[in-house]
């Protein structure tokens, strides 16, 4: 998912007796399934956690344009080029919706952007992996969007109104993303031996990073417990990961591809697959900035932002001149 290891207050969930009257009323509203709107009273920790989470989610959409953007100019057909471009464009749109949701909490988009560019705020670990063949466009759509959807669908019911509404719009638009990825995989898996090899190679490289998207187990995390009490996190990381594996393994089988996990086996008792955990030390390396593409991704975003400054300033200066001229004429 696009928000990983989001820190909350770190103090654990308060018992109703320890809450102030305002906090208790707030928690009761959430428990009753009411939506919290920007102008409503909310605990400072709720606001801060949401800014972190929505911001990270938005940053992931924005940085997430880069690995797929890497293949737009090399798409094999006009139709594939158009589909991929439309998909990456959607991601820019989703980032935009999410930044707007965060802005209702009293932070500006440019402030969030600067925190991303300075490395202060994070984005999903998955986008620090390279896209090396056309099959990676399939794998990203199928696995990465598939993992993201696991998280985004329940977030449509999150307690903060603007976030929930952004997620509704995003989920509606995302419905074609995973399908286009799987469609690419089907073509590759049923194609020439070279295409089949590309497809298997893409699955090999993206399987574990996709599992990492859900973050390490958080069953003992005080941050997650608070976020779940506030309904800004709807499921535990392990729940979502299990659901993802259960959904994805048969899809891989249909493609005739092998999931790179020798321990993978159906477990009748739990009604799901047993599977190997990803290498969490690799995950923490990526989070710390040592993923294969961290440096390139941040450099690309910084360059776009720096190169664009004169454009943003120029268009604003023109708008201000026109507004001044209009006032003078009145």
């Amino acid at each position: 998912m696009y928000a990983q290891m989001v820190k909350s207050t770190g103090e654990g969930v308060k018992s109703p007796e320890d809450m102030t009257a305002e906090e208790r009323a707030f928690q009761e509203r959430i428990d009753a399934g009411e939506k919290i709107e920007p102008k409503d009273w909310m605990p400072a920790g709720y606001r801060k956690t949401l800014i972190r989470q929505i911001g990270q989610h938005a940053h992931s959409e924005i940085v997430g344009q880069l690995p797929e953007g890497n293949w737009i100019t090399r798409a094999p057909t006009l139709e594939r080029k158009a589909i991929l471009l439309a998909k990456v464009q959607d991601e820019a749109g989703h980032g935009l919706y999410l930044y707007c949701a965060a802005e209702t909490l009293g932070v500006s988009r440019d402030e969030l952007t600067e925190d991303l560019l300075s490395g202060k705020m994070k984005y999903s670990s998955i986008f620090n992996y390279p896209t090396l063949t056309w099959a990676d466009m399939g794998a990203v759509g199928w696995l990465v969007d598939g993992a993201a959807i696991m998280n985004q669908v329940p977030l449509q019911r999150t307690s903060f109104g603007p976030y929930a509404r952004a997620m509704v719009r995003i989920c509606k638009e995302e419905s074609f993303h995973q399908r286009q990825g799987y469609d690419i995989m089907m073509k590759m898996a049923n194609g020439t031996p070279a295409q089949k090899r590309m497809a298997q190679d893409a699955l090999n490289r993206f399987w574990y990073p996709s599992l990492m998207m859900f973050g390490p187990s958080d069953q003992d995390s005080v941050h997650s417990a608070q976020s779940m009490a506030w309904k800004i996190k709807m499921n535990t990381n392990d729940e979502l990961r299990q659901k993802f594996v259960d959904q994805t393994v048969p899809q891989a089988e249909y493609l005739g591809l092998t999931v790179p996990d020798e321990t993978l086996a159906w477990n009748d008792d739990k009604g799901g697959y047993d599977f190997a955990e990803p290498d969490w030390s690799e995950f923490f390396d990526v989070i710390k900035g040592n993923g294969p593409c961290n440096v390139e991704r941040l450099a690309a975003r910084n360059k776009a932002w720096d190169d664009g400054k004169w454009v943003r300033d120029g268009l604003l200066a023109h708008a201000e001149k026109r507004a001044a001229a209009k006032v003078a004429a009145e």
């Binding site: 464009q89 935009l96 295409q195 120029g314 023109h318």
Partner: protein
């Protein structure tokens, strides 16, 4: 044997949108602001869609079973028929928007005339494309104005872009034997008829943008005839056609 001028003409229309659409798509994820990223992608998507229609018809007219993708991905640079303007590199955002506006202003006039083509297939494609191009020219024109009349820096950059790209405008309007044959058949307009309105349009936008149109009628040529493209096109095709060339016969 001289090539069929109708096929040539359709390749010109389709290659213009293909090459320019590709250039615009190079911006993906790196525009100055999110809203521009999304807008640029829309422009690129429109142009790619138009390419599919023009090159699809070109393949049909040629009658050798070549699809739009075959034409896009398997011809070499000398068989491309786009004007030189469209293959110029993106440069900074200002250069991209200036190139876009100089092309859009011609494109919308051309497509409008093509809606009255004697060939119903051409008229049909033009009717759909002209709606898209009308929006493109409005947006690129506004951006040229905003940046031309923005800060000192944005003004300077936009003037530099106009100076750089101006010599590539003429090729859009200078007819050759293909254009003459199309005009005679009533399939396409006489290109020289489009120039006066274009100049008016440009003069208005550039005046509002406080930009000066270079006092030169010099025009590079060689793109739409395919005789001499710029060095840039070959690099673009190397990237665009790579998968199809490296894995011939594969289905994607």
């Amino acid at each position: 044997m001289a090539a069929d001028p109708f096929f040539e003409f359709l390749c010109r229309m389709g290659d213009n949108t293909l090459v320019l659409g590709h250039r615009v798509s190079e911006w993906c994820g790196t525009a100055p602001v999110l809203e521009e990223d999304i807008a640029l992608a829309n422009t690129a998507l429109d142009l790619i869609g138009q390419t599919q229609m023009w090159l699809g018809l070109a393949g049909e007219v040629e009658g050798k079973g070549r699809s739009a993708d075959d034409l896009a991905m398997l011809r070499d640079a000398w068989d491309f028929r786009n004007v030189l303007l469209t293959e110029q590199p993106n440069g900074d955002f200002g250069q991209t928007m200036m190139r876009q506006f100089l092309f859009d202003a011609w494109h919308v006039a051309m497509l409008d005339a093509l809606t009255r083509s004697t060939d119903p297939r051409v008229a049909e494609i033009a009717a759909k494309a002209v709606k898209e191009a009308s929006y493109h020219v409005e947006r690129s024109g506004d951006t040229v104005i905003g940046l031309g009349d923005g800060t000192d820096e944005s003004h300077r950059r936009m003037q530099a872009a106009l100076d750089l790209l101006w010599p590539y405008v003429g090729e859009l309007f200078v007819p050759d034997s293909v254009d003459d044959a199309m005009a005679e058949a009533g399939i396409a307009p006489d290109l020289t008829d489009l120039r006066a309105a274009y100049d008016d349009h440009l003069a208005k936008v550039m005046a509002t943008a406080t930009l000066t149109i270079p006092d030169s009628a010099f025009a590079h040529k060689g793109g739409k005839s395919g005789f001499r493209h710029s060095e840039h096109l070959g690099h673009m095709l190397t990237e665009m056609q790579w998968l199809q060339r490296a894995y011939p016969g594969a289905t994607w």
